[in-house]
């Protein structure tokens, strides 16, 4: 099993994702440059955070046109796991792999801090190592993480168990960015694509705080 970390010009959490997979989980991982077109040798794809193409125009709006995204969509359609973190989530939404949109935080400003999120569905390849209701402490760092979708989409997300994580009221101000239904992470219909604003790759080691995010990667790759 090999893992691909997609690198756009402006990606800046690529090395963090690489570190978790290669050095903490001992699974081989490659950086895959956005101009490449082949993901056939990989078992999972990570679209990391950052500012792809500077987030000019709109976060993720230009990155979706990169050659690699065509292949990421095919890869996802074959049922293989794809996780988009922060800017990666924004790219997946822009590319249509996930519904809705990520708009400016409710206070407009960039927000970097730990948040408390709740596992809403533990019956997915990304969350099977957690129990539903588990509370995780994981950092966020974004300006556009306010999840928005049409009422029909929200209803489907809820009915179909596609809400993976929500911001938990135990946190200082509950819903830090103003997301609808306090959504912190969602899945596609088939539940093999996860997009989330919090950064589990930054919460994977004891020394950096609680390693609450590691299980997402362990679960996705079926390792301990």
């Amino acid at each position: 099993m090999r893992v691909a970390v997609v690198v756009f010009p402006g990606s800046n959490c690529d090395h963090d994702a690489y570190h978790v997979i290669q050095h903490l989980l001992n699974i081989d991982v490659d950086f895959v440059w956005h101009k490449e077109k082949d993901l056939s040798k990989y078992g999972a794809v990570i679209v990391p955070g950052g500012f792809a193409y500077g987030d000019y125009l709109r976060a993720g709006a230009i990155a979706r046109f990169s050659p690699i995204m065509e292949e990421v969509i095919q890869f996802a359609n074959r049922g293989k796991p794809v996780i988009g973190i922060c800017n990666g989530f924004q790219v997946l939404v822009e590319s249509g792999l996930l519904p809705g949109a990520l708009i400016n935080n409710k206070n407009i400003k960039f927000l970097s801090r730990d948040v408390c999120i709740r596992v809403e569905n533990s019956d997915t390849i990304f969350t099977s190592y957690y129990d539903e209701g588990d509370l995780l402490t994981i950092p966020i760092a974004h300006r556009q993480g306010n999840y928005f979708a049409k009422p029909d989409d929200i209803r489907q997300l809820k009915d179909n168990g596609q809400i993976a994580f929500t911001y938990h009221p135990q946190d200082a101000d509950g819903n830090p960015n103003g997301s609808l239904e306090s959504i912190a992470g969602i899945l596609n219909d088939a539940k093999n694509v996860l997009g989330m604003m919090p950064h589990p790759e930054r919460a994977a080691e004891e020394i950096l705080g609680a390693p609450d995010g590691l299980k997402i990667f362990q679960s996705m790759l079926g390792v301990s």
Partner: protein, 741 residues
Amino acid sequence: MARYPKVTLETAIDHGLSEKEFDEIQSILGRVPNYVELGVFSVMWSEHCSYKSSIKMIKTLPRSGGRLLVEAGEENAGLIDIGDDLAVAFKIESHNHPSAVEPYQGAATGVGGIMRDIFTMGARPVISMNSLRFGSLDEPRNRFLLEHVVEGIADYSNCLGIPTLGGEVVIEDSYSGNPLINAFSLGLVKKGKTASAIAKGEGNPVFIVGAKTGRDGIHGATFASVELTDESESRKSNVQVGDPFLEKLLLEASLELCSKSWLVGMQDMGAAGITCSSSEMAAKGNVGITINIDKVPLREPGMNAYETLLSESQERMLVVIEKKFEKELKIIFDKWDLNCTKIGVVNSSGRLEVFEKRRKVVDIPAESLVLGGGAPEYELPAKEPEYISTANTFSIDNLAEPADYNKVLLTLLASPNISSKKWVYQQYDSTVRSNTVIGPGSDAGVIRIKGTKKALAVSTDCNGKYVYLNPRLGGEIAVAEAARNVVCTGAEPIAITNCLNFGNPNDPEIYWQFKEAVTGIGKVCRTLNTPVTGGNVSFYNESSLGAVYPSPVIGMVGLIEDTKHITTMSFKTPNDFIIVLGGLNGKLGGSEYLKTIHGRIEGPIAPLNIEFEMRVQEVCLEAIKKGIVNSAHDISDGGLLVNIAESIIAAEPGIGAKIDCERRLRTDELLFGECQSAIIITIPENNLIDLIMISQELDIPTQTIGRVTDNNLLTVNQNISVERPKLESAYNLSFENIMKG
């Protein structure tokens, strides 16, 4: 063909040169310079580039020793050996004047500039910090400046993906109209893999890479070398515009380039753009560079050689490589979709020659332009200001003692200088790169170094009030406190960088402040064996309101040998002893208490005994390394009680403290007096013997002054009893409320 004005003494004076300097230029060239050459000399000999008024004092600072690999001034930043085959490069720099006029871009490009200084050496930036000073936030203009400076820093460093670990935000009236915006960056590099800012090898090509050149920032260096006036607003064209995305690409491409054996040298373009980078690289290599200015990719048409040479457009580098590797160079920059254009060639003439439309428009010996070469050096007259004696007559005898100490504590916790700057630092990505162990809001920020057991601690520090009241002692204290801050995290202080922000050096009273402060900094750096790796001098920080407080900001780097030693300031376990290392002999002179509660800024400030200070730091570090310390936090602004309150607020819910301590001091002196060489640590009761062994060996007093509790309460003797939620809301919410106006 571009037509240039005729050069006369008046043109030279308009360019900020003195008559004597103009004469000197004519004798160097053996003729009157042409207009383009005059522009080149004027920026290279500006205070900003030449350090002409400061360099003699700067040379008195310790610039070698310790773990220093590259000395200050040799390259863009000093280089420090941290073992494990690794070195760190770091530096702090000001961007004050641009930020006063255009806060967002001014601050953003300040970050961009300091990052390029680091990655042009081949080091990958891994820490960003900033030290910010503004006038009273009661004034909307100062709130506006703060809001947009913070946003500019956040947008730039967040996009680059470099964690901001904190710094300072200081509010004093003296910074109104002339805020101080100092940005710090630290990079990691494999030893021996650094790039040098040098040109050599006859026939080797010279490339400009990165952004295109526009008209932005022309004469930015000269602009930085005069006081701000009402006209400054109209000089927004002197301010550069930043593009952090382009910088991110340039960062990755440059680091890729640094791994190539055929790279000869690389220099970033900051102040004075192509002019400065080319003349410095040529002078360093003892060679000449010929530039065809028509080859430079331009952002707008019709720019002449004068504008192109002096442009301070951001995100550009000058690169010299071995000939025959031009194709390989192109491949790297094509990958990152960046410009890469050959504009010149290295020769043996020792001259900077520039051709425009085949006409030679610059022909100057490179050496004559640069610091350490022909650039002027001045020793300016200095005179002790009159205020020094009048402002240092404070006596507690004529100060009324407050009736309600609870209220005093809450007022201090809510004051702009002490309250939590969460509103500011939550806008900075502090966890990207997944190395951050201690983020903003502590004595120092800490990152671990992947692949080793080591970690780095960084603190920036300066108390402008202290330096104003006593420049020499204030300078000493800035270094001592920055060192104490990193010690509290478990780090050994290893080196500093400094950003010396002062008023107009031609005023003998300002120059006296400068000389005194630098003397103080040098003394303590020598004692602590923390050499100065480099930094920046920013003069002319004056507005219509006068000069800023002299503010020599110290960026201290500390090395933690083993990540298991990393210590934080929060109280940990109920019943732990709260212990003072050093002594409690707080003085109200220069304190936040005296300013906030009584509206007075007066000295004398508390003295510093540097030998004692060093031993206090040693005790703290030894105890931490022994594993007997649960928390450490030094006493600084606000004194003992603010220190205790901060350690409670940072702790897990429920934690409080009970303090019982008597001294032959008045209660406000004891609780809110500020002193040096005092660190509060907490230890489990069982570790007391171990601590005493260490402290006796180094002859440092330790005194237990209380215990950590689990009752959510801070009590002190009979004077104070405050519930924790009250402490928290005063400390956590007030800055945000102030910013709401």
